[in-house]
Symmetry: C2
Subunit: 417 residues, 2 copies
Amino acid sequence: MQAEIITIGDEILIGQIVDTNSAWIAQKLNEIGISLSQIKSISDNKLQIIKSLNDSFDQVNLILITGGLGPTNDDITKSTLATYFNSPLKMDHSVLKHVESLLKGRNVSMNELNIKQAEVPENCKVLHNSCGTAPGMWFEHNQKVLISMPGVPFEMKMMMEHEIIPLLKQRFSLPEIIHKTIITHGIAESTLAIQIAEWENNLPNCIKLAFLPSPGIVRLRLSAQGDDKKQLKNTIEGSIRPLREILKDAILSEDDESIEVIISKLLINNNKTLAVAESCTGGNIAHLMTLVPGSSAYFKGGVVAYSNEVKQSILGVMELLITEKGAVSEEVVECMAKNVATILGSNYGIGISGIAGPDGGSLDKPIGTVWISVYNGLKLVSRKFQFGDNRERNITRASIAALNMLRLLILEDVQKK
Amino acid sequence: MQAEIITIGDEILIGQIVDTNSAWIAQKLNEIGISLSQIKSISDNKLQIIKSLNDSFDQVNLILITGGLGPTNDDITKSTLATYFNSPLKMDHSVLKHVESLLKGRNVSMNELNIKQAEVPENCKVLHNSCGTAPGMWFEHNQKVLISMPGVPFEMKMMMEHEIIPLLKQRFSLPEIIHKTIITHGIAESTLAIQIAEWENNLPNCIKLAFLPSPGIVRLRLSAQGDDKKQLKNTIEGSIRPLREILKDAILSEDDESIEVIISKLLINNNKTLAVAESCTGGNIAHLMTLVPGSSAYFKGGVVAYSNEVKQSILGVMELLITEKGAVSEEVVECMAKNVATILGSNYGIGISGIAGPDGGSLDKPIGTVWISVYNGLKLVSRKFQFGDNRERNITRASIAALNMLRLLILEDVQKK
């Protein structure tokens, strides 16, 4: 089963935004056995949209469109679809109600443009946009399907997951596909590829492997396709067993979840709390931890000790220690980890200090040098990392490395019990 | 002048990587007056590549291809182009020399796959790849141009900047395009659209307007195309003047920059420092501020006071105040803003507390209620916001709202001087 994605919006064509939606949609479609033959980005132009739809319908049975559904004049996807499918716009009262309640919740009063967002082509099935005002649309056309989604990533994602994926599974007869994602940490993609090459070569034919790298993390996605779901599950499980032997501690999780969610679960399950003292990561670890709903149950808080004065005044790191060892040193991060846990009254503490770049590097501490310490109330585990020269990536990689050190320490503590 | 980009590679179509190349190339082309009518991502498949080339040559005079130039068997772009242009591959000895010296520098010995990389179609112009082994190629075809580049981002970027852009300027007579982006804050997209509708209708024909919304922010992009750069600049400037009157304080910036960069510039230019006390934003404001390179010059640090104990122990908020007024109250955020500036020794302080959701809401303080206070050493400015019910969006919107309140306070202070 083949599909095409069409992303509509001038902002992509002038390079103002990077199209991250398509990769995400591609992954989700792959999971249910739909593969993409093409992704196209085109402008907010009626003739071009129509030409593009014709071309795509010539090639595939399923087209997914994102973008161009906003309330303003430059957004013309909906009116173009109404023309294309020869289906006049009419008011959808349940959409109107939703838009109304959404705006009320945001304390914004309803205007004529919002009201127009609740109009949809007569012959489409409306797809509920739980977090936005632009409804999605599902059209049936000569046995083929066209789906129009908003371009705002989180709106599109909610709609894909809750509305579109279930409907696609009903509408098309798709093969059984089972995916299992193994999250690895600390091994570069190319090294990992060599390390597991023999294992990969011995995978059964029904299993496909994909490497999905992001800073600090490589996700290995195994996909098995066939007719018998149970058998596929067994085949995957059988393939993962030897992988566990090869990768050991480098496996963060065998579920597709983020490191902050892994840590949250570990803390909740063991009834423990965390506090963080961050220098180079500048609050990113606290930010990641508090993205998880309910984090106030186990996350006490943190200190972003960006200047040395703060390391001294709030965290009680001795000035002499900083002068003698440097702000980026084992001794200083250990003091930060220990003191933040003590002062904030948490079971675990993280201390982190490094040179994120682009400035501040020296010969013996080049850009990308990061010291991390984790503390459990009794002992400290500390490690030095050497990341690259990209500030944003360094912040991300250092944050993940710190949370992974904490994960290993919590696991050690749990096993001792 | 119109062009199309074709990115070739299965890894894009299965969502393994996000195509960041196209946005970058689009920006560079825009700067020299070439606009894109389409971006296509297709797989490493000979027939699809040929079909795609034919389609694109029907539409535009310039095609830029990335990807599929690697040494392995799955990379077929070069051989496909040789077939397409009916131009057999031959060894290019200067490319061979370059590949040889490059591999020597990497301590890798030359193999037959590397040698094959130095073969190029007879009738193409070779584009030097200063950082990689795959040469770029420039084909002339019925008065039209096709350029093939490697998919590795930094190789492609070097080739674009040093080889392709200068050649394009020579080869085509190009119009001028000028973009100007106005960043607005605090007005929903649809409200903004109505507010500036009359202004928009009176825009000269040579100017196109686009709305680019993201949580808390709407960017307005004006694009003017013509022959005379100076005249276009004047036309844009003339159009922005009345917009300033309409939007006033809602304009964050007239450059395409983020709120954290705007704040950084304000702090640097006025030689001031900042500290933040965050509850519901959980370190996100500190994270945003420290994403900016060089932020240690003006960002002292922050306290993520996620639990009430931390608000009391580190920030010195009285327990009684929290009990009487609640952790999400004007009094508490004022105390947080004031004390964090005092304790961390900064000129400005931010205090923020709210209910990010999904839990924790009540009748008089529903999810999305956020109190923010900013402090300049003398006075406090405090405001209550009511955001929505999405945790991640609330964190983003509250962070931007706080930084905007700080921006207005700094501007007020500057004007007083």
